[in-house]
Amino acid sequence: MTLSWFLVQCLNSLQYGLLLFLVASGLTLIFGIMGVINLAHGSFYMIGAYMAYALAPLVNATLGGGFFTTLMIGLVLAVALGYVLEWAFFSFLYEREHLQQVLMTYGLILVFEELRSILVGDDVHGVAPPPWLAGSVPLGDLMTYPVYNLFISAVCLLLALGMWFVLARTRLGMTIRAGSTNREMVQSLGIDIQFLYRVVFAAGVALAVLAGMVAAPASSVYPGMGNQVLIICFVVVVIGGIGSIRGALLAALLIGFVDTFGKVLFQQAAGVLVYVLMALILLWKPDGLFKAS
């Protein structure tokens, strides 16, 4: 246990936590504003990762490549996907019970997972990071840290800042915040709530897809990867408090650290630790750390 070892684990925790935040913030935003529990949110992460795998060769062949070009194309596709999904499946779930939302979105998971299997197959794939991010930086005498993982953290931080700016400082953010507190009032003020919902949903999908695309080169791309992320994101939302972006950030970082250090220090109980943390927080604060009113 040296200082550089500790530093590497901290960087890993930070990266994992920020990535979780990206996925969980979409989940909590969609729930906070539209009141819909979306189990298929993990699938968007999976779709993102597979997009990174499948789009890169296509982009290389047609547009001459480029990591950012791929990201941008993925982002556009994600927004379109979110927009269509909201229109086709979610728009009539708002008035339904949570139970029916759970079932419908569970059905969507099965559909997405099988479509993925038909289109890309069930193999595990690796995605190469772009050459200019492929190296690693030395840490101390013996350890190195991949540049790409630093890049992930930086992208996530930038997006988190961007999200904060949009929500806290722009007119759109103001309507979104208002919409989450009082839906009817916003509607009676003449704001098109239908459109607002569609924008929020598309943004949530885009965040999850982006998280998947950015994460793909650092982890492998495999079937079922969305489900694992989904359940951990539920834990993030429960700990942070539903609808609270600030809570999601704090909870995601907390889980990042607990999970990463748990995996290296207590290997046999690694999977359980995150849930123990959730149990403790539920005992202390049943509504999560930051309850959005």
Binding site: F31, I37, F89, F92, R96, H98, L99, Q100, V102, L103, M104, Y106, G107, L108, I109, L110, V111, E113, E114, L115, S117, I118, N227, I231, F234, V235, V237, V238, I242, Q268, A269, A270, G271, V272, Y275, V276, M278, A279, L282, L283, P286, D287
Partner: protein, 329 residues
């Protein structure tokens, strides 16, 4: 005079009892498995349909009871059904108490997520710790028996005995839940579902009632887990997978929420759908993507069948009655 509900239950039981006479090993095994799922669906119906608590963690009780049945069996000798079944149920009920005590502090959509997360915690306990034997699971080499002195009454090694034990358990669970619904306790649970505030105002402390419902539901799901482990002779972490919790939830919705018959009907409808979409004769090479068909069916049934299969029967009856009234007048 029996009403149509009691007649349908009696006819269903009779059909299940006669089923092994008309089918082979495959049919017996399939229906035995489906009846086990029906037991788990009934246990969830107590929480979701009766009490109004949407629990997404039923697989944890099911799987933990299965693991308990295997771990508690003595090696190389058969355990007695008389203590192994209650012991497995107790393990499931204990975890249900733990899960209920914490998750009942939350409500609504929180509750769904928290129950799912605690079920996942149980999954990782059997998956990661040396207790559970990892991904491969563990085997039950000698199945339990029910013996009186030296006479073996029930030997679960025989598939047919197993079938009738499962059927007996299903009937017992159904009867117990039907009685429970008529009891003071059952009425209180229904009251909590209808209006918890009013129940509190009427002087009921609702938390212990809900917690008790959780423990009972866990114990019943435990019966299912025990039977599953004994029938197949092995357990693996997939018994605790959240896909099972989702499947059981779909069964009770598909059948019709708020009816015990609905839970059983749903379990059979689900099994039928599964066999249909898995059939290579109909879907050819797409049969291995059977989950796609299942997913689309789930989406369609949420969109167009919110009251489940029982709901169709009810609306037919109403229509028939209306037609009769029109005919008379």
């Amino acid at each position: 005079m029996l009403d149509h509900r009691q007649i349908s239950v009696l006819l269903g039981t009779l059909a299940l009892a006669l089923w092994p006479l008309v089918t082979g090993n495959f049919g017996v095994d399939l229906v035995a498995k489906t009846m086990i799922y029906a037991i788990v669906a009934l246990s969830l119906e107590l929480l979701v349909g009766t009490t109004g608590l949407v629990c997404f963690g039923q697989a944890a009780f099911f799987g933990l009871a299965g693991y308990a049945a295997v771990k508690l069996s003595p090696e190389g000798a058969s355990a007695s059904l008389l203590w192994l079944l209650p012991a497995s149920m107790a393990v499931a009920a204990a975890y249900a108490l733990f899960m209920g005590a914490l998750s009942l502090r939350t409500r609504g959509v929180y509750f769904i997520m928290v129950t799912l997360a605690f079920a996942q915690m149980a999954y990782y306990v059997v998956h990661d710790t040396p207790l559970g034997g990892g991904t491969d699971g563990i085997y039950l080499y000698v199945k339990p028996v029910l013996a009186l002195g030296n006479v073996t009454l029930l030997d679960l090694e025989r598939p047919l005995t197993m079938y009738y034990v499962v059927l007996g358990c299903l009937v017992a669970v159904f009867a117990a839940l039907a009685l429970l619904a008529r009891s003071r306790f059952g009425r209180a649970l229904a009251g909590i579902k209808a209006n918890e505030q009013r129940m509190r105002a009427a002087g009921y402390s609702t938390y212990p009632y809900k917690l008790a419902a959780f423990a009972i539901s866990g114990a019943i799901a435990g019966v299912g887990g025990f039977l599953f482990a004994v029938k197949d002779g092995f357990v693996n972490p997939e018994l605790l997978s959240w896909h099972l919790s989702g499947a059981v939830l779909i069964m009770i919705i598909l059948g019709g929420l708020g009816h015990l018959r609905g839970a059983v009907l749903g379990a059979f409808a689900f099994a039928l759908l599964q066999e249909l979409f898995k059939s290579e004769a109909i879907f050819g090479p797409f049969a291995k993507h059977w989950l796609l068909g299942l997913g689309l069916t789930i989406i369609a049934s949420v969109a167009w069948l919110p009251h489940g299969l029982i709901g169709i029967a009810d609306s037919w009856q109403r229509r028939a009655r209306r037609a009769a009234v029109v005919g008379v007048s």
